[in-house]
Symmetry: D2
Subunit: 399 residues, 4 copies
């Protein structure tokens, strides 16, 4: 479990900077920077987040009932207006090819369920005698995104997910961010714990196995429940511990409590603290006039975040618009000590909270350990013979 290939996934995700309105051109521009500046340090996944099949998607306000692009089997297809290489039914394969040619890997977002539009049209399910209506469960939906119906557990669910992953495998997808699955209020699933899409996760895990191409399976959004951790670690690779993480100190401070509760699972797959909201963000939100906005985190807070993620062993997915972000972002993301802790760390634990200083220790599988001390007070604080800035961190390798 502590071998090198257990390093948590690293890469870039489009949500924090582009929201639902990402275009192919933007994704490729960011991928190019990732290749040049971050790939040498281990960042490799380029993930296209939600709503890539919605032709008019722009800001984070979804457009209910907007027509989505699907193939004849009800499977969502990239909107060619935003992803020109997907035209003529090519899907994401041409884009994946370009990402692969950069030496990177390609990931996409999916929602739990089957598109309502496929159900309305009662489209056939690829490779089966079933149609969309017979697979859909019309009585349970996602409350925050209007695109999908749930799937009926059992054969219909498996059939639909298999049909979808056959398509994704043909696109050479490497990473799946599966959404609307960690918290399902109001549903009692087979996991025996209310509020988790266990059946969907099992069916998607099986579909990945069946499709013949390895893919990382990432579950969203949190807060995942500890009671379900055994299931997520058995069937998925990473899962979100909180709701969407943004650049506020309150959320960052709360993440110390969250990681403390989850420390024991940091060797069981990869509990996920969410994307790193650094650099330039929210480019597509109207209030930012097209230029985005800078992270609200201070430099000290940014380093604290990066140190906590690396100490805990969280996946590292950059949220920054990379073409517009300044060198300090890249310096932080490639900090050798922090990335060594992320790569060689094992059995990370919070060891104390005292006088506003939170101390975490992470074993180094090469020997010794990493010690992080975080000052969570609003003023500089002395600790271990040095001064830690407000909201800041000191990381050391010891013995």
């Amino acid at each position: 479990m502590d071998s090198l290939d257990r390093r948590a996934p690293m890469g870039w995700n489009s949500w924090d900077c582009y929201g639902p309105g990402l275009t192919e051109e933007q994704l490729l521009a960011n991928a190019a920077v990732l290749r040049d500046r971050l790939a040498p340090a281990g960042y490799e996944y380029v993930v296209c987040d939600i709503q890539w099949s919605e032709p008019g998607a722009k800001s984070k306000a979804y457009r209910p009932f907007a027509p989505l692009c699907t193939d004849g089997f009800g499977r969502l297809m990239p909107a060619p207006g935003r992803f020109p290489s997907a035209k003529d039914g090519a899907g994401f394969r041409p884009l994946a090819d370009r990402i692969h040619a950069m030496g990177l890997k390609f990931g996409i977002h999916i929602m739990r369920g089957i598109p309502r539009q496929a159900v309305e049209k009662d489209l056939p399910v690829h490779g089966t005698g079933l149609t969309a209506r017979s697979c859909a469960d019309p009585s349970f939906i996602c409350p925050w995104n209007p695109d999908m119906y749930s799937l009926r557990e059992g054969a219909p669910m498996r059939a639909y997910y298999d049909s979808v992953f056959r398509l994704y495998a043909s696109w050479d997808v490497d990473f799946i961010k599966m959404d609307d699955v960690c918290v399902l209020e109001g549903r009692v699933d087979r996991s025996g714990v209310p509020g988790y899409g266990a059946a969907d996760v099992e069916a998607v895990a099986a579909a990945i196995k069946n499709c013949g191409r390895p893919m990382v399976l990432s579950l969203s959004p949190g807060p995942a429940r500890l009671e379900n951790a055994w299931h997520m670690s058995r069937y998925a690779d990473m899962w979100r511990l909180t709701g969407d993480f943004w650049d506020t100190w309150e959320q960052l401070l709360d993440m110390f409590d969250v990681t403390r509760r989850w420390d024991a699972f940091s060797g069981e797959g990869f509990p996920d603290c969410d994307m790193l909201p650094l650099g330039v963000l929210d480019v597509n939100e109207p209030e930012n006039g097209g230029g985005g906005r800078g992270t609200r985190f201070t430099p000290a807070e940014q380093r604290t975040m990066m140190a906590l993620w690396c100490s805990f062993g969280s996946p590292l997915f950059v949220g920054a618009e990379l073409t517009k972000s300044d060198p300090a972002v890249f310096d932080l993301l490639t900090d050798p000590l922090l990335l060594d802790m992320h790569r060689y760390g094992a059995r990370s634990r919070e060891v104390s909270r005292e006088g506003g200083i939170i101390t975490r220790e992470t074993g180094d599988i090469r020997g010794g350990k990493f010690v992080c001390r975080f000052n969570v007070t609003d003023a500089p604080a002395a600790s271990g013979g040095e001064t830690i800035p407000a909201h800041g961190a000191v990381v050391k390798h010891e013995g």
Copy 2:
């Protein structure tokens, strides 16, 4: 408040005997018996329950995504295969005319919301510049019936309900059973209490006022919450206190607790104990082979139910298939003492529970009071000098 015209509504409802599969022929046959046998005692409403727009509806298992009949404005229309007089867009007007000609009143069932099929087709909303999509809220649905989306609160909701009630007024409808509204798990409404469709109820109450025709507004299903009683009594005429009531002693016994909690509201509109599952029931359920089944209640239990409903002042809606039910059913439903209690009763209260005997008293606005003693034990019991059979009732008028 205690005047004669405050008698709770009385009539017949199709659900207990025909479920979703009722036909016009069946409704008229039952109405004829109601006219002949029960109307003299005060029963007057003939209510067509759920799924009248679904051409293939039969048993209580709804058929998800089955095409519903609507007009060009997304308003549900009776399925002409089941209601022949509704053909050529006539709607329920011809049937209502026939019911009215019998000296009776006509009621229909509606679901909260707007048909998903109207939204999928984005049909125009009658009398407005809006379309169905702009009125629908795709993020909240009924979990047990797949037909409707919720409406967006405010102008869109009001516009759609107004359009619907203009149609119902043109049909001369007298009674509306509004479903999926008393308990909405997961929704926090403007009522400030989770789990109740306050906005929809207000909009429907306004639509009834706007449409120019008085209609009784009945809310379903329960269990309604006491915290919302003030709102229901302000905007509706009757509302269900429990989930669907069927012919089991456990449910009947529980109704004593329910009515005790709600006694104070029995003068505030009409808290509703649900239909009376007497006589022949469940005609359309496959396991009954087309002939239905008799009520599971013993004669003593039937009388206990009728006495409790009348004591409490609940609406009285017969669930029996009237053409097939035997004379004892009609005798019970027209029992003069019980109906006097129902008609002239005021301020009914449970006064004691002792030794398995529950006693309720109901003031008689003409003078004196009605006293009901119920034996809720499983054996005959002596009380007040007489023997009450197991699960049975004794009702007296005193001084």
Copy 3:
């Protein structure tokens, strides 16, 4: 039910001005003012609130394990240092005699349960062969006051309460404020609803009946639950709808929601909005230096409170230190229109909320109705041709 003797109880209670530290001298001084200034308008009860058996009680911070005065049967006795007339085991009888001589009635506070000190000493229970230990339930206590154990349901509970009320009857007590009973988190009682002391209420109601002297039974503290209203209205005279009510606009505003939910019960015994925090308050709290403090309510808010209480038909218990309060307090408390509404009102209901104006109507059993319009906005508002001040009320008699 609408007859004159159904007027809700009115009087003075020591809590808001003296907390647990009240003395006999203070009580008598206030009673004298009550007699002179408020009794003609109907105020009659003088109620000594909590901790009268604690010799050193002063502010609202209770003193855990402070020795309480009891008789040899474990019944709490007034602390003679604070209530000199109680010396030599006379109890409250001499004080009650003086109150009665003023033409007023005398009330005391009790806690649910049996004093822990009686249990520790295993004192005999008066009039029985039982001792305190055999009556106590050591596994459930009041979380906010350390004086009592619970009583074991059944014969032990009845025996102890009977012993206590024999004593109170011998003191000529007229009114019992029973505390720690409306909300009992963690206890499931025979009422079938968690969190209410039904068994204790029934036993106290029986003890009052058994003791031969009528006493008003008032239950505290709230928030009482609507599910238990039937029980409280059957066994008690009044019960608190909220936690302790103090002089903040937030609490007053909230009371409109509370009364709206409870309107239907306003003819079923007396749901209680709590004492009126007017005039001089909190005399014994250290931060007020012995002189108390004035109410934080503006004159408009005071009138709004008084109008809401009178409209709803709440008991009216003045919280003011009467010897120090200025004439405006007495004018408000004896406002003829408001007190007529309180006295002759029936079936009070909130009828609308619109544009920041809440309207309530209260029938006048002599004819016509009272209409109250409350401006709950933070600015003056025009309504019905006049201007209502911010947080203010207009009350009219109509028709």
Copy 4:
């Protein structure tokens, strides 16, 4: 973490066979058998469970308000009538000496809090200027045992626990079973998670450190909450995962779900599946006439239990009356393969549930792994080429 000295604690506990009524003679007789038959296999702790200070304790029905033995500082002392060697204030030291002389270790049970009797008498707290009353929190108690008050967080709590552990250290105690601490309904503690006695656990952990003698700290009763696991693993050695475990298949079956949720914590201290109810049990329960009763588990179920506990790495505490139990019990408790799995196991996980067979794998730190297959159906089942009896287990060591 995977070194040999990380083996979970093993021993014998008096609760399952003697309940609260254990005597010194019985404890020594069982210890002698433990020494002879089980100590060679690693069992070493002899733990005296609850109520050892209650002179008249017998069956599991506690006697409220029964006088407990304490010293002059309010610290509970063994009742000399049951533990003769404790006479003259010797406490448990003589008994501990005899246990140590057998080559075994000695453990005792404590309740969270301070004896109510010490508070009633306001005894001084040893080694401080405080008295019991100033340390007690009278507002929160254990609902199932009447002996203790809670302690006030901070200095009073620390002072009292320090005084107690000074005494225990002088007795040479090796093991503390701390009760009423994992689940505290109604209390929000500093852990930030309701329902857990974090402050008490920290104070006891510090008191053990301060007293100068190492002691194993075991927390009871469960169900512990996963949210608090980080805290329990930081401050305690073992903690209970469920309520009291007894010999029913339902509880054993449920333990598979429990261990699955807790697997990730099996290397973080010792999550505890509770005592093993084998052999002769419940000797002191009246219904067993003094002779106790045999376990209700079938031989197959006993082996399943033992295999699950060993696979998961739970502490192993025998509940049997050892002098009366037959050889099969000792054979099972000393099964070499199972104890090797318990001793050398690491990273145990459930890997599948299929067709009624639950499979768990436990790494062997010497190489290879242990594989357990459990048949949780009610009939024999074929699995891996062999037949597993109903409710039975097959354990293998693989490559």
